[in-house]
């Protein structure tokens, strides 16, 4: 009994070509698109449909030339789910979670990759399991109101944003610059 081929969806820009890699394979059907070309994701009770728009500069002879729908059995994620402002694909990713489709890396790893602090918690776990794991001494502040005490000596680096592609980091050389930074943050953060 011959089954249908496995459908592999690769979320990736066209700097890598997965169509070419699987061209001669009868057991795999590939589609590839960057997040930007993913028009939407629908996860039904027993199937997942990903709607893809045409690529601006498509690989010739591939489905990328037109709009299409794809129902993947396996997804490779080669692009950030959450990066710099404007690069937030969490609502699309949510469809993959809903469908529990097999992903590389795992769905679980992406669940905490979009939340830097959760990722950090697991990095601590790495250090707990392997005491030689040289994790840097990182401090988390929920906001500027609690940012009075600095754990290590200056200079320090302040980081804002997601786990991948942070939106900003600054080097703070002394106490005075630290206070300035914290005030600046208070100024701009509407909910404080």
């Amino acid at each position: 009994m011959e089954g249908r081929p496995v459908r592999l969806l690769v979320i990736c820009s066209n700097r890598e070509n997965y169509f070419a890699r699987f061209r001669d394979r009868k057991d795999v059907v590939v589609d590839q698109a960057p997040w930007l070309d993913v028009a939407g994701v629908v996860s039904f009770s027993d199937s997942l449909v990903v709607h893809l728009g045409p690529q601006r500069e498509p690989f010739a002879g591939t489905p990328q030339t037109g709009a299409r729908s794809f129902s993947p059995d396996l997804v490779l994620l080669r692009s950030f789910v959450l990066g710099a402002p404007g690069h937030d694909w969490r609502t699309l990713m949510a469809g993959f979670f809903h469908a529990n489709v097999e992903c590389v890396n795992s769905l679980d790893s992406f669940a905490f990759s979009v939340e830097k602090e959760k990722l950090w918690g697991l990095m601590r776990k790495c250090r707990d399991e392997d005491p030689t794991f040289p994790l840097i001494a990182d401090t988390y502040y929920s906001g500027s109101r609690v940012a009075s005490f600095v754990e290590s000596g200056f200079p320090i680096v302040v980081k804002v944003g997601s786990a991948s592609q942070g939106v900003g980091k600054s080097q703070i050389k002394d106490e005075r610059a630290w206070k300035d930074t914290v005030r600046m943050e208070r100024l701009f953060c509407s909910h404080f």
């Binding site: 699987f22 396996l74 950030f80 990722l119 697991l122 900003g168 080097q171 943050e185």
Partner: protein, 259 residues
């Protein structure tokens, strides 16, 4: 600095601080399945601007041999973070002290010179996943087919009547091995008879689900069918027989019939 701070306008997240490492090496340790790679970035001039290791200016890059401890750190991160493909970022200061800054997921970029080879490693990793997915698809398809067969066996009949008939049949014959091909299946082909038996197990299972919790006698009866079917399947060596066995084991364990 102020430009970076503007990014804090959003205000929906907190922020983190870490000691500023006066680095001499910025390491990217990369793991793709079973393949490891270490890339070192270094300052090509000692200007004040290059405190950020990921700045494009004044930074050189080279491949370095993977140290055993680096490989261990990649492995522990891969396991704890559930990532088969990852990039660990480390800074190393002048005294040789190493600091892990972050762990990047499968979206890590590759240097142009390694891209073709590294995408090849990803494809290798995917091949294992594809084989598993193919196996899963086949099992699901066989399950669906068996279910369809079961449905066709009961269609137009009261399920209670079918169960009663089966029960009478088994109790009457005592020997479970006989009922299959002679009564319910015209062909005596081994794999086909195994399929019908599987279908019957599913059918009985369905009836039980619809009706009542199976009694001990019901349990013994179905267990006997399962064992007989498994024995037949064990005698056949086809891949389908193997998958059927999986299906049967699943059904049986769901009904807690096979200890």
């Amino acid at each position: 600095m102020q430009l970076s701070l503007l990014a804090m306008m959003d205000g929906s997240t907190g922020f983190t601080t870490e000691p500023c490492v006066n680095w001499v090496s910025d390491l990217r340790l990369q793991k793709i399945g079973g393949h490891y790679r270490a890339i070192r970035r270094f300052k090509t001039w000692q200007g004040d601007v290059s405190w950020k290791a990921n700045d494009a200016f004044g930074i050189g890059e080279e491949d370095v041999p993977m140290e055993a401890r680096w490989r261990d750190w990649c492995d522990v991160a891969a396991r704890v973070l559930d990532m088969e493909l990852l990039g660990l970022d480390l800074l190393v200061n002048a005294e040789g002290r190493e600091y892990v800054l972050e762990c990047n997921s499968s979206s890590i970029g590759f240097p142009e010179r390694h891209r073709t080879e590294d995408v090849g490693h990803i494809v290798e990793l995917l091949n294992g996943k594809i084989a598993n997915a193919a196996k899963r698809l086949t099992t699901e398809r066989i399950k669906r087919e068996l279910l369809k067969q079961s449905v066709s066996l009961v269609s137009g009949r009261k399920t209670t009547a079918v169960v009663e008939e089966l029960r009478a049949l088994f109790i009457h014959r005592k020997q479970v091995g006989e009922w299959n091909t002679k009564i319910l299946l015209p062909k005596s082909n081994l794999a086909a008879s195994a399929q019908v038996k599987s279908a019957l197990v599913l059918l009985v299972a369905q009836c039980f689900r619809q009706q009542h919790a199976p009694t001990a006698a019901d349990g013994h009866m179905v267990a006997a069918i399962v064992h007989a079917a498994l024995a037949d399947i064990a005698a056949s060596h086809s891949q389908d027989a193997f998958l059927l066995e999986n299906t049967l084991q699943l059904t049986a364990s769901e009904l807690k019939l096979v200890q």
